[in-house]
């Protein structure tokens, strides 16, 4: 009986590891474990300084400029050195909107709210590359237009 259990366990572990091995293989694009996968070129960020349209009113706008090495931590916030209320006249950047000064209860604070401090949580740059997944997002206004068209 004991032997049978041991065998069963071994069998179980082996099948499981075979299954997992397959998962790992797909993560590695099927490249053998002993080989190094050819790395893809890293795409460049788009930094043409042209504001990108927003897909819906609550969308955090895309960053249209370079942010390499911009330090955002306990000590400094490089983004705010241009985007904060006091700095925009010099930097000519867009001021962070009033929502960035609100805490979660809707109170307005004097400083940028802690929950909006780490800018790249929500704002990102775009890269000059083909998307891995096709985007079939349809703008709300287009949906309304389609509906109006159908109703006619």
């Amino acid at each position: 009986m004991n032997k049978f259990i041991t065998l069963l366990t071994i069998f179980g572990v082996l099948t499981a590891s075979a299954l997992f091995a397959q998962d790992i293989a797909t993560l590695r694009n099927g490249v053998e474990i002993s080989k190094q996968e050819k790395s893809q070129p890293i795409p460049n960020p788009i930094k043409d300084d042209i504001k990108v349209g927003r897909n819906y009113p609550m969308q955090p706008p895309i960053i249209p400029h370079n942010i390499r090495d911009y330090q955002v931590d306990l000590n400094v916030n490089k983004c705010l050195s241009c985007h904060s209320r006091n700095r925009i006249s010099e930097s000519q950047a867009t001021m962070v909107s009033v929502t960035h000064y609100m805490d979660r209860d809707g109170n307005f604070l004097a400083e940028v709210s802690p929950r909006r401090y780490f800018c790249t949580q929500c704002h990102v740059t775009q890269h000059d590359t083909k998307p891995l997944v096709e985007n079939d997002f349809i703008d709300m206004q287009k949906l309304i237009a389609i509906r109006a068209e159908k109703a006619k």
Partner: protein
Amino acid sequence: MKNLIVKYWQILRKPSVHFSLGFLTLGGFIAGIFFWGGFNTALEVSNTEAFCISCHEMEDNVYEELKSTIHYTNRSGVRATCPDCHVPHEWTNKIARKMQASKEVWGKIFGTIDTRDKFLEHRLTLAQHEWARLKANDSLECRNCHNFEFMDFTAQGKRAVQQHSTSLANGDKTCIDCHKGIAHQLPDMKGIEGWH
């Protein structure tokens, strides 16, 4: 002791009996070159990055941080080393900076800055020294590589052009006013101009 000094002084004062004046002049000249060269060689050695990061305070803190920045790795493959930004090129300025630096070496020997925490504690003071120096010399070290005369504004980003063609061009500001933290992480910047 006093006798010894007096005796040597007398030897030095006596005209030479064994060597010709020509030999002595030439010898002195050659010895001069030798020492001058040696001094400058020592200066050169202490002017390399390898020397700068031979103490681990520098290697573990500032050098490690430099590695991810554009001055360590970039598309053109031009590298800025520590002395490029921290040691002036003219000889007198260089000596002045070295004497200042001996204080920093002193600090190392006596272990005032021997951990990351202690380094961070001193970081603001150290950074302020560098800012003051670069402000005073109009960011000379930056300009050794980045020459304003040859900046092509049409090739720069909009944000860069906007600042460079105004405050920089008319001399209101110098590189370090706007580009603090270009090579290392910054300390707490509360109360420092330009940082909210």
